[in-house]
């Protein structure tokens, strides 16, 4: 196993795509509280906004899906590792099963997410609020997040699995 820096250009490109998704989700995480505080204060004064509720929900969904690349990289996704602990020699096989299952699942998420976004776009489905946001835009977070899951898992398969539990600190 090698580090990302020592890997081929292909793996480095995949990793860079994951970093881009991570960057977007981290920025959203930092600013997420601000519009909610703004809305809470305006609501207390009797002037609630019409846009905060919906935009922060979509921001949260983007954080959740696009943050997958980071979660995979930091080993944050929880796995039961009892078999690997009891039978250490089976660990490489179990890791392979785990990674392949994630790849298959990511393909399912990407394909179903693309279908969902296409369905919203072709039927001009909008949110049932005053903003009337075309739903294909937030729907796109699903396939993009699935892509992050897929690419980062490929990187992990090429460069080694991370230590688990970093996200919980």
């Amino acid at each position: 196993m090698s580090s990302v820096q020592e890997s081929t250009g292909f793996v480095r490109t995949l990793d860079a795509t994951g970093k881009l998704m991570t960057g977007c989700s981290v920025v959203l995480m930092i600013v997420l509280a601000l519009p909610i505080v703004y809305d809470a204060l305006l609501r207390a004064l009797g002037y609630p906004t019409i846009w905060v509720f919906e935009t922060t929900l979509y921001a949260f969904i983007v954080i959740g899906f696009l943050g997958n690349a980071l979660a995979v990289k930091r080993g944050a996704h929880f796995r039961v590792t009892i078999l690997a602990q009891v039978f250490p020699r089976a660990k490489p096989a179990l890791d392979l099963i785990s990674n392949v299952s994630v790849l298959l699942f990511a393909l399912l998420v990407i394909s179903s997410g693309l279908y969902f976004a296409w369905y919203s776009w072709s039927n001009t489905i909008v949110s049932s609020t005053l903003l009337e946001v075309p739903l294909w835009i937030p729907n796109l977070a699903i396939p993009i997040g699935g892509l992050g899951l897929l690419l980062q898992t490929v990187v992990q398969m090429c460069c080694g699995m991370p230590d688990h539990g970093e996200a919980g600190d």
Partner: protein, 430 residues
């Protein structure tokens, strides 16, 4: 064959879930794939494909979930501003000369930090980093030093704000504000029982930390910004002034401004806190989204109703509650708390309702059961967190945490037999 599949489709999904988890698949993948594969056996593939994404999207677009990243970020910022050290200094000063005062101070610091961060792991890690070396120096021994922090850390789950209570509220469509307020009295009672055990635990350590009143006030004044946050959070929700999501956002802004004003927070630390919070949020988000899909499939296949009926037919109230407690203790041995919540609530919620439990009471009951999972060997995450920061052996930590585990099991029965303890405060909310 097809009859068998139609009759037991839900149970096939449960079997696949446990098989996939045993094969080390990430839990959210195991949940999504097992329900999807089982639905392929029962439905037209195109319909199964559409249901998968539609129900998952519904699980993602719940506004109450926005509170999750906000409270997680509050906790990760607090970890990087030395708030744990300050809180511990305050509780140490006020615990003074009572027996096992440093242990008592540890539990108090855990309780206050839990009331800000809402996270059991963040509480154990932050307070443990400061408290364990001092506890070891004073002669509490590795078993008790680690056990106190592991046990105290679990208070993060029940004292509001609480991340598992947000998840429970979303899954069962129960008011998160009411759930937060419902957790206050059981949380205080549990902390009091923990304090009592720590003060009475043997051998007694009689090191005196008596400091003059003026010094106590000086230390407290230094941390007053952090200490005031829990009562403000509870009061804001109790009075209905702000929703839990708004309180979460205000808490993020408050701790960030406080950190910058005290020069304990800078942009690199804020970025680091946001990175950790993003990874944790994404992990929980995927569990929630595909956990909801799994739960929807089970409900559609009438599995929870069947299990509930089987339990009710074969056990009386106390027997059914004992069965649930046993199931939680066993699940806690190999499942992390959020995964345990998402798997167990769809199954046990109908049982609890049939037993006449209030949704708020069962919410607190389930979250105390989650606390048990945090300190149950072999995978109790609090044990691993403390092992990671102190290198105390897991076996010793598990022994040290065992008395807290017994107190939590007793609390489960207390909550079942005395629901007023949970319901009194939320019933008096505005």
């Amino acid at each position: 064959m097809m009859d068998f599949i139609y009759d037991y489709g839900g149970f096939i999904a449960i079997f696949l879930l446990f098989l996939f988890m045993l094969l080390s698949m990430p839990v959210f993948v195991a949940m999504g794939l097992s329900a999807f594969l089982a639905s392929l056996l029962l439905e037209d593939p195109a319909h199964a494909f559409r249901s998968f994404i539609q129900i998952s999207w519904q699980g993602a677009s719940i506004f109450e979930l926005v509170a999750l990243p906000l409270f997680i970020l509050t906790g990760t910022i607090m970890q990087r501003t030395d708030a744990g050290r300050d809180l511990f200094e305050v509780t140490k000063a006020w615990a003074g000369g009572i027996p096992n005062s440093l242990g008592v101070a540890t539990i108090l610091a855990c309780g206050i930090f839990a009331a800000i961060s809402g996270s059991s792991i963040a509480t154990a890690a932050t307070v443990g980093l400061v408290a364990i070396p001092l506890l070891l120096d004073e002669g509490y021994g590795q078993r008790r030093a680690g056990g106190f922090v592991a046990g105290g850390g679990t208070l993060g789950i029940i004292i509001p704000p609480s991340i598992p209570l947000i998840l429970y509220g979303v899954i069962t469509e129960t008011s998160i504000g009411q759930l937060f307020i419902a957790g206050v009295l059981p949380g205080v009672l549990m902390m009091s029982l923990f304090l009592l055990y720590v003060a009475l635990s043997r051998p007694t350590v009689r090191t005196c930390h008596e400091v003059p009143l003026s010094e106590k006030l000086r230390i407290t004044r230094r941390s007053i910004g952090v200490i005031l946050l829990p009562p403000i959070i509870i009061a804001a929700i109790y009075t209905g002034a702000f929703t839990p999501t708004e309180v979460g956002a205000l808490a993020v802004v408050y701790v960030a401004i406080l950190g910058f004003a005290q020069r304990r927070l800078d942009w690199p630390k804020l970025r680091e806190a946001a990175v950790v919070a993003t990874a944790t949020t994404s992990m929980l988000f995927m569990l929630i989204v595909f956990g909801q899909f799994f739960a929807h499939f089970l409900t559609f296949e009438q599995v929870p109703q069947t299990i509930a009926q089987a339990i009710i037919d074969n056990a009386d109230g106390i027997g059914a509650v004992t069965l649930m407690i046993l199931a939680y203790v066993v699940m806690g041995m190999f499942l992390e708390s959020a995964a345990m919540l998402l798997i167990s609530i769809p199954i046990f919620y109908p049982v609890a309702m049939q037993l006449g439990m209030d949704p708020l009471v069962f919410g607190i009951f389930a979250c105390i059961a989650m606390e048990i999972a945090q300190i149950s060997p072999p995978i109790g995450v609090n044990l691993f967190t403390i092992h990671g920061i102190s290198r105390i052996k897991l076996g010793r930590l598990a022994l040290g945490a065992a008395p807290f585990l017994l107190i939590q099991i007793a609390m489960l029965y207390v909550v079942y037999f005395f629901p007023e303890l949970v319901l009194w405060l939320p019933n008096s909310m505005k």
